[in-house]
Symmetry: C2
Subunit: 405 residues, 2 copies
Amino acid sequence: MNIVVQKFGGTSVANLECMSKVKEKVMVPLKQGKKVAIVLSAMAGETNRLIKLAHEWSKNPDPSELDVLLSTGEQVSIALFTMLLKDAGIKARSFLGYQIPIRTDRDFGKARILDVDAEKLKQYFSIYDVLVIAGFQGCDCENRITTLGRGGSDTSAVALAAALKAEICEIYTDVDGVYTTDPNICSSARRIDKIAYDEMLEMASMGAKVLQIRSVEFAKKYNVPILVRSTFTDGPGTLVTQEDENMESAMVSGIAYDKDQARITLVDVYDKPGIAANIFEPIAAAGIVVDMIVQNPSRNGATDMTFTVPKGDMEKTIQILKKIAPNLGTKDILTDKNVAKVSVIGVGMRNHAGVAAIAFSALRKEHINIMIISTSEIKISCLIEEKYTELAVRTLHEAFGLDQV
Amino acid sequence: MNIVVQKFGGTSVANLECMSKVKEKVMVPLKQGKKVAIVLSAMAGETNRLIKLAHEWSKNPDPSELDVLLSTGEQVSIALFTMLLKDAGIKARSFLGYQIPIRTDRDFGKARILDVDAEKLKQYFSIYDVLVIAGFQGCDCENRITTLGRGGSDTSAVALAAALKAEICEIYTDVDGVYTTDPNICSSARRIDKIAYDEMLEMASMGAKVLQIRSVEFAKKYNVPILVRSTFTDGPGTLVTQEDENMESAMVSGIAYDKDQARITLVDVYDKPGIAANIFEPIAAAGIVVDMIVQNPSRNGATDMTFTVPKGDMEKTIQILKKIAPNLGTKDILTDKNVAKVSVIGVGMRNHAGVAAIAFSALRKEHINIMIISTSEIKISCLIEEKYTELAVRTLHEAFGLDQV
């Protein structure tokens, strides 16, 4: 039995006209004699409407009850779309998270999938050609409804593809694939045909918000090929898959950027064991995600510690730091909200020397100052002044020949 | 453990202001140390909105998928209301039909409750003081969502009260009880303190639409006392309960009427065995509910058969009758849409002679012609010209002294 998983986001199911487009996409594998598992999100705007409703009713909505509320969005989508399929004479049935079940932990609002029972689903394929499954939701061991957090339907789709051993997991969205960089700021940006999971992880976490990052981690773990495509056009899309030799021949796959960064520098903190932990533990405990961290070797027993947090968390972070500052020996806390991170990403870097040099030289040519550099095996990130973001992205895109087909 | 079941309809949960009233009602048994199971309907207008949506999407919405869609209405209500309770520091949790489970047959859209698992619910009362339960919904043996039909939340509440052996099932609505007749047409109508199940069944099925008729049947079967009250006032309401001696001392409890009646007379049908079945089987097969049926003894081997159907079903009924007419021997089909049924109801009738005589005499006094009479043990119904409905109701109400306290 050849199974295809197709996931459609909120804009794809927004109205009857969009849903007809969705139906066309479903027909393709059906006509090839394949079985199809469809994962749907809530109609565009519905989840936000429900969240607003909850906050009107409650100062502090109970997370477990919020999940009961939010999960109705996908329930509406699957019911309506299954009606549409049945009208067209297609053997279809809707499934809610608990009916499969998609078992999760009890972390309401951002639950993680523990297990998907594929055996029961496969049996249903003997009766139905299309199973229409509510994304974003699962149930805990007590059969209470859980949701997987923003973009969770992507993860639902990949988890189902893994469990069903589907030949592919197609993620339909309103863009036609993953691009070498943001086409809104770089007109020569090109759609990437094929990208490695690790590259996609770096791209996704830095603003190329096509896929929920957890879904890519899941896909990598279970080796599920993901095809990112547009609901509204017929392009080939971008295949997210395992690294292969072909990919490594290209040095760099894409340029990402993130303007939601604020820089914080602790001047002259004690250079002794445990200081880093003392700084970052209370920040993490407050739920603040620290991105870049740079520490230079000390001079005279003191060192500067620089890191970035989301702009909206800067004030909160400073409050925390002021409390612990006396124990750190720091003389001053410097902050800067006018910063952005640009990143060069590519699995090919591992085998090519000089990638960093090309990047730095390109930025120098435009007189763009680099405040922080951090690198991983497949990524080089630079923190720069925010106003140079677009210029830096275009410069790097050209420097690595990404504008050339 | 003393348990109270409270059910709130769509107008009671329509918005935050109404829900605060609901919260006050819940606090009463809570402060007496009782446990409370609350059954909620969808917010007023929500079910109709969803039905409209389904018909926009589908020419002929699949019944099972329609239930998946419609059940979201109650899901939203219970989530929001449980948040409200938890904000107030009350230990509460929401329950969907399948989480209890409320097991039903597979008759989607009008499923019947087969079983309610009270043991699990009772265990939850050791953790929570209030269980907030979605009305109108259950699940079949495959865990698919079913709904119980219009007004089904009443039946949910009574079934839960029976399973939990609750001391009472309070049905909160926008009226403050059951009246001797419709206060809109008879200003002297009075709230009834106590009414027998059988009387309520006759009242409910004839326009006094306070309770879903199936919920009363259920309550009678399991002897669940129902208290009908208003969410918005503090009156004592109407207790629907087993017949007692006190009730029998009053001859008549109320006057009901139903304007949604059309009369059909088959003139001169053969008077032979099987004719009645031949007429009413095809009508029933078309889902048309026949109400009054009158057949007079035959003269010369032929008889007239008169019956009533809802006005909206009259044309369809005539189409059916025309097809079978040749086998009935009927000479003519007479119809009349300008008719109404008025009924006198009371368990006391059983022990009092002359109730029918009083009713007929009251109608004669106003020169109201009676077209059809049909009677049961506790009810006398007359079909009259529709324009006399209000006059007839007021006349009968007065004739039986119902305007007197």
